[in-house]
């Protein structure tokens, strides 16, 4: 029962997630704002539409959205979730998790290059540039978790993590912050990127998908929403026990997700979009934080260097 709810929740929450963000922004701006499910309506509309594709494009452009979406879904299967657990779990599965997202990125990027548009090439180059900072930082996070728990698969790590206490709270908070930075980067939100500016020159992710239309665009949008949720659930996993199948973890989980979306909305409305040249420093904050966390763990776990 709970599992079914969870699955349904996960399928629909991406729309809600974006909706909440927009609503929060609207509220901060003093507007009424679009309905919470607006993204869902757009999605439906897009699915109904036909599509226009560029003459320059090739097969890559056609398969990219599919690969993108399915790798994100696949990543979901690896991540342990309340009242579902992790469908696929083996030693080192988090490597597969990261690389599945890598595959998604790979195809998004070459699809952007496929159109031969200078804007999309620009977006692609920025995307990969920033992920060169995010990726190692994420592995530091994972590595530190493995160090902390002495385990090498998501499920076991998360289980032990929820059980652990004491200084681990500090570690968890550090990780929470760095994961939020990761979410802002990968989900291309302010201050890294502004999804709904009207100047292509300043975009990253949005500019990469300029040429998609119809169901493909729908897949892309849904995919990016899903990615946000995915990373947010990883954040949530830090704080809730996933191995116990009961209502509370599930509720807390949902709560965290909604809170995060609201938080992102607040950030977007409070902070201005950073200059491109300053973005790397911001993302590098993630690396710094996770390194601090690593140091902390080494210090406490191994009793001082």
């Amino acid at each position: 029962m709970l599992t079914a709810i969870q699955i349904l929740f996960l399928i629909f929450v991406p729309f809600l997630f974006l909706g909440i963000i927009n609503r929060v922004k609207a509220v901060w701006a003093g507007r009424k704002g679009s309905p919470l499910l607006q993204p869902f309506y757009d999605f439906k509309k897009l699915l109904r539409k036909g599509k226009v594709i560029s003459k320059t494009t090739s097969i890559i452009f056609k398969i990219a959205p599919t690969v993108n979406l399915s790798s994100i879904i696949f990543a979901f299967l690896i991540l342990p979730l309340p009242s579902i657990g992790s469908v696929i779990s083996f030693q080192g599965d988090f490597i597969l998790f990261a690389y599945a997202l890598g595959l998604a990125k790979f195809f998004t990027v070459i699809a952007a290059l496929d159109t031969g548009s200078s804007f999309e090439g620009m977006g692609a180059s920025r995307e990969v540039t920033f992920s060169t900072i995010v990726e190692p930082a994420f592995f530091i996070v994972i590595g530190t978790l493995a160090l902390l728990t002495g385990q090498t698969s998501f499920a076991t790590i998360i289980n032990l993590l929820s059980a652990s206490a004491g200084y681990t709270i500090l570690v968890k908070i550090l990780f929470a912050v760095s994961l939020i930075i990761m979410i802002l980067t990968e989900g291309s939100r302010v201050p890294v990127d502004d999804p709904n500016t009207h100047l292509e020159l300043t975009m990253i992710h949005e500019v990469m998908v300029l040429d998609f239309s119809g169901p493909d665009l729908a897949f892309i949008l849904y995919g990016s929403g899903l990615k946000l949720v995915l990373l947010t659930s990883l954040l949530a996993d830090l704080f809730i026990p996933v191995n116990v199948v009961s209502v509370y973890p599930l509720i807390i989980f949902m709560g965290i997700i909604f809170l995060t979306s609201a938080l992102i909305g607040m950030i977007e409305s409070l902070i201005a979009r950073a200059r491109m040249s300053h973005v790397p420093q911001f993302i590098f904050l993630m690396t710094a934080l996770s390194l601090i966390a690593f140091a902390v763990v080494i210090f406490f776990l191994r009793g001082g260097l």
């Binding site: 030693q91 599965d93 597969l96 070459i110 290059l113 031969g116 200078s118 530091i140 385990q151 090498t152």
Partner: protein
């Protein structure tokens, strides 16, 4: 074993025969036939050694200095012999198509095939010979023959330069080996590898120095930083078939050597293990950084070979660490990752080189800034190239992931150990490998996206077309292997079991079974992944059914005068990233423009330098040259001066004697 040797001989003879054949295409055909025949002779032996873990050995009696030489084909040797002979066959097929446009030309194909055969046979001997002098002889033969292949297009000045640079680099590498082997020969009183065991396994300074000598010697061949500088020069210079052999196969003999020495030296010394690990890590970073900054496809691939050697080395270092700290699982995973990645790198790197060769043949340029939109002209080649690119970026369902996964997991296992320094180095490696991986993705999205996608940045002088069957076939075969290894890794891991047993015979079995089950579950995951992709694709098809799909030009944001010159170029694509790491990729920018009211055309030239070369190699060369030119005045042509040298010399010695008295 005899079959093996007759195969080796066959390669050599094929090369010799081509000297006496008049018509050029017959040379290619004869060599191809010989190569395939050699497979029939060689492969059964290799597989019987790999599957049943047998090791064959033979003895050859030479006269005095060499003495009796043992030749042993154990599983480790078999793995590399497998790469070599398979690579030779594929290269032979490829050359059948690729050398066509040299037929009747100014270059001698006989020389090409002769040295090709010599190279293959000497490489095959390198992995089996177990006698120092004989080993060095075949090792040098390998370098020399490959040198002649590098300078195949020898009327080009830069090709000759590259060749000479390569030859000298090999000489320097070999001299380290000569020193190490001769020293060992003194210590053990024999030239047989088996007799080196107890000297190398003794954990004293001698053993450490010896190992370092060996590592530098073999590392020069493999292309570890800072001994990598010959690689980006030599590999692009050679004809593509050979570049594939060199980059995919030959540098692996260096890896083989290092592994062989590790086998001989038993439990490695901890600091050595760390050193290997860190050097490899640096190698990986330097390699991929330079790769990203390249415009020349083949140079790019050469640098990416350096990167992959780095990854292999990290695997080796990991294995050594596992052995040193006595953590069998890490040891197994490390060596497994290293050997597996050697095989994988052979697969996708040869493939990429073959693709690059087809592009070069069709467009007469290796500069990706001039290319674009090739996927329209040569779809099959492009898709195969894409396969290789994804594989080398180590993405799941392709073989690159399999080996990197082993190394990742090994390092993750390192976190469980209570040793702080191990933990820290593991974290460096863990995030470092991730960094290398993502940078590889940057590089190969650039390479593929710019060269094959979009629209041509400059008009081709003749419209490119699909490569001929002989050119495509090797790539198809390799792509099959990519997916077999990528999705059903247990097949090859099963084969590698005997090799790993050589490294750690005692408690391999349960570790190995755990690794085995791990990879089985990985296969499961991949199948699920494929399933998901399939379903999502069905959904897409469902939504796209009877919808009208318009073709229109790319969205230009309202700017009407779009030309293909406006596309993002490779350098502009990699610029933001290179700016982040500007310290490590020093870039020289030359702007030629005239500042007038109506400025005419302007030019901007950018060129990157290999900072590792600047840091480690060039100063040494500069110093040696300056030091030697200090003595240039000696041969002045004045006779009195000459006599004076003699007298001064005489006087000095006399003073020395009287001092001694």
């Amino acid at each position: 074993m005899n079959y093996f040797f007759s195969g080796v001989l066959l390669f050599f003879l094929a090369g010799v025969v081509t000297i006496f054949v008049r018509k050029d295409e017959w040379k290619s055909i004869i060599f191809l036939i010989a190569a395939s025949g050699a497979q029939i002779l060689i492969l059964p032996t290799l597989f019987s050694s790999l599957i049943f873990g047998n090791s064959f050995s033979a003895a050859a009696i030479f006269s005095e200095p060499i003495g009796a030489a043992t030749l042993r084909l154990d599983p480790l040797a078999s793995v590399f012999a497998l790469i070599i002979s398979a690579g030779a066959l594929l290269a032979a097929i490829y050359s059948l198509g690729y050398m066509k446009h040299y037929y009747g030309g100014k270059y001698s194909l006989s020389a090409f095939y002769f040295f090709f055969g010599l190279l293959i046979s000497s490489m095959l001997l390198v992995v089996v010979v177990q006698n120092s002098i004989l080993f060095l002889i075949v090792w040098e033969l390998m370098s020399v023959s490959s040198f002649f292949l590098v300078v195949f297009e020898n009327d080009k000045e830069d090709v000759r330069k590259a060749g000479l640079y390569y030859l000298i680099a090999m000489q320097i590498g070999a001299s380290f080996l000569i020193a190490a082997f001769s020293w060992l020969g003194n210590l053990s009183g024999s030239y047989d590898f088996a007799s080196f065991k107890n000297i190398l396994s003794a954990q004293n300074y001698t053993a450490i120095i010896l190992f370092s000598l060996f590592f530098i010697g073999f590392g020069t061949k493999a292309g570890f930083v800072p001994f990598h500088t010959w690689l980006p020069r030599a590999h692009p210079a050679a004809p593509t078939g050979v570049s594939a052999i060199m980059s995919g196969v030959m540098i692996k003999t260096g890896i083989y050597g290092i592994l062989r020495i590790i086998l001989l030296s038993g439990v490695p010394e901890v600091h050595l293990a760390y050193a290997v690990f860190i050097i490899s890590f640096v190698t990986g970073i330097v390699g991929i950084l330079n790769a990203i900054s390249q415009k020349d496809i083949k140079k790019f691939l050469a640098y990416s070979s350096i990167e992959n050697i780095g990854i292999i080395g990290m695997g080796i270092g990991l294995g050594m660490l596992g052995a040193a700290y006595n953590i069998p699982l890490i040891e197994i995973l490390g060596y497994l990752g290293a050997i597996l990645h050697s095989v994988n790198h052979f697969i996708f790197k040869s493939m990429l080189f073959y693709g690059a060769g087809i592009v070069y043949q069709n467009t007469n340029t290796r500069n990706i800034e001039k290319l674009g939109g090739l996927i329209k002209f040569m779809p099959v080649t492009s898709i195969l190239f894409l396969t290789g690119a994804i594989a080398i970026s180590g993405l799941p369902m392709f073989n690159g992931f399999i080996s990197e996964f082993a190394i990742y997991l090994g390092m993750a296992k390192g976190f469980a150990s209570a040793n702080v320094s191990l933990n820290i180095f593991m974290l460096i490696g863990f995030s470092g490998l991730a960094l290398i991986g993502i940078m590889a993705m940057v590089g190969f999205t650039k390479l593929f996206g710019i060269a094959f996608l979009g629209s041509p940045r400059e008009p081709f002088d003749k419209t490119p077309h699909e490569g001929s069957t002989a050119l495509i076939l090797p790539m198809i075969v390799l792509s099959v292997f990519i997916f077999v290894v990528g999705i059903f890794p247990i097949t090859i891991i099963q084969i590698l079991n005997p090799v790993l047993r050589q490294f750690n015979n005692i408690n391999i079995e349960q570790q190995f079974s755990s690794v085995f089950s791990l990879y089985t579950s990985l296969t499961g995951a991949f199948i699920l992944f494929a399933l998901i992709i399939f379903i999502v694709f069905l959904i897409r098809v469902y939504f796209l059914r009877n919808k009208k799909v318009e073709q229109f030009k790319t969205w230009d944001c309202g700017y009407q005068a779009v030309s293909s010159r406006l596309q993002y170029t490779g350098s502009s694509y990699s610029l933001p990233f290179l700016e982040l790491v500007a310290e490590f990729v020093p870039q020289k920018t030359v702007v030629e423009t005239q500042y007038e009211i109506f400025p005419a055309e302007a030019h901007l030239k950018t060129s990157q330098h290999d900072f590792a070369e600047r840091l480690f190699v060039q100063p040494v060369l500069k110093f040696i040259r300056r030091f030697l030119t200090m003595f240039a005045w000696i041969q002045s042509g004045r006779m009195q001066q000459y006599i004076l040298y003699g007298l001064i010399f005489l006087v000095i010695i006399l003073i020395w004697i009287f001092g001694a008295m």
